[in-house]
Symmetry: C2
Subunit: 250 residues, 2 copies
């Protein structure tokens, strides 16, 4: 029984680390990058063995990647994007992808938590800036956010698997569990500014969607406010730019 | 003769401040924003007097804006974008738009010069971040750069006319004329970093296109190097993010 539940937990933890991507160019890119661990390649039976498909099969064979074949509809259920999967999907084992409950084991962190970021370009840019900057990871809710998709991979410019991404269902549940953290919301009436902020051992910056900001439920859990001083009456910045400014604070 | 040449110069200076935008929604937005000075509205004769066109004509009448009518091809020569002008174009008089030769009159400035930024979203985001940050203006070459278009307006989120934009033909000619300025290129082998830079009275940061960087001719004119320290082996940032980090340096 104990054995079983341990095996179950391990299996669950394993599958939680899997990110499924799709599209021929993306799959080729993943297969060519030896630093990326691949769980499985999924192919639709309807694929004609043309140039790209031939190349994918050859690369998979060279790396000894397991291949499963599906009818077109089953493949689309795996990719979750029938329109853009082009009959191929790939399961990546991302070492940097973990459940947000893992954060409770850490004694110090500086994180960016996202809510309602639906634009994949913005999400990719945020990952890229945080990977390059002084941020230990991103908290990314599964609901009300862009999924990790080929567009995100592209905008992240190869940095997606370099930055820890902590996924959760609802951001408010994760924030509630992270006791003792300074949780910042951006606010035009904050006293603490980007230039004089004194961050503590555990710091989280919550960024919301540009048009709607963060939800009232999440706002309630923020215990600090931060202002990015702006000139010329400008009231807001692109969310990816805001993330970058936070990531590159001294 | 002097009078003539003065009149000519004035006329030239006036027309240099004109930015032509197009598309029905953008034209409506410009007509509705009273802070924006409008020179002229251009309409194609082929426009059907439907909802948007009716609204445009009404707004123009309310503001007393001059309207000229053209055949469809002539309108497209004005908009320079037959595919997207939707039969309407508008000439904006931008007080913040000036020839780069004006910079020679200034005794101090901190500028961002762009070369090869063709993505209108990036250009719009750069304008927005610089308008909000500590940058006195952008140097934007007419060649080898995105034009000020409705996509740029959208990405700038209403900040386009808040930030001085100094246009020039070729960036190298402008940089050569700005004697005595510290002209920075970003470089991974620079000693001076984003965190310890000592800027002088006249500082220009040159940003190039992400894939190709700045051209050799422009690189030769840069007399300083700056590094943005990056973690996790990341070697570059999105150009709009880079501009924002420079704009918000302390």
């Amino acid at each position: 029984m104990n054995e079983d539940s341990k095996a179950y937990r391990e299996k669950k933890a394993f599958f939680e680390k899997i990110i499924t991507l799709y599209g021929r160019n993306v799959v080729i890119e993943m297969l060519q990058d030896k630093s990326i661990e691949i769980h499985k390649l999924h192919m639709a039976n309807s694929n004609k063995p043309d140039g790209a498909i031939k190349k994918i099969l050859l690369l998979a064979k060279e790396r000894g990647v397991a291949i499963t074949h599906h009818d077109k509809n089953a493949l689309s259920r795996i990719s979750k994007n029938a329109k853009q999967d082009q009959g191929v999907a790939i399961d990546i084992i991302s070492k940097s992808y973990a459940h947000a409950s893992e954060l409770q084991k850490l004694t110090s962190y500086r994180l960016i938590a996202l809510e309602g970021i639906h634009n994949p370009q913005n999400l990719g840019m945020i990952i890229r800036s945080c990977a390059a900057g002084n941020i230990d990871g991103i908290i990314l809710p599964k609901k009300n956010s862009a999924k990790i998709s080929p567009l995100v991979v592209k905008a992240s410019a190869g940095t997606l698997f370099k930055l820890p991404i902590y996924f959760c269902e609802k951001l408010e549940d994760t924030l509630r569990e992270l006791n003792g953290a300074d949780i910042y919301a951006l606010s035009l009436d904050a006293k603490e500014s980007l230039y004089d902020i004194q961050t503590s051992e555990k710091t989280i910056f919550v960024l919301g969607n540009e048009s709607e900001g963060i939800s009232p439920d999440v706002a309630k859990l923020c215990n600090k406010k931060l202002i990015i001083p702006m000139n010329r009456g400008v009231e807001s910045l692109n969310v990816a730019v805001t993330a970058a400014l936070l990531a590159f604070m001294k």
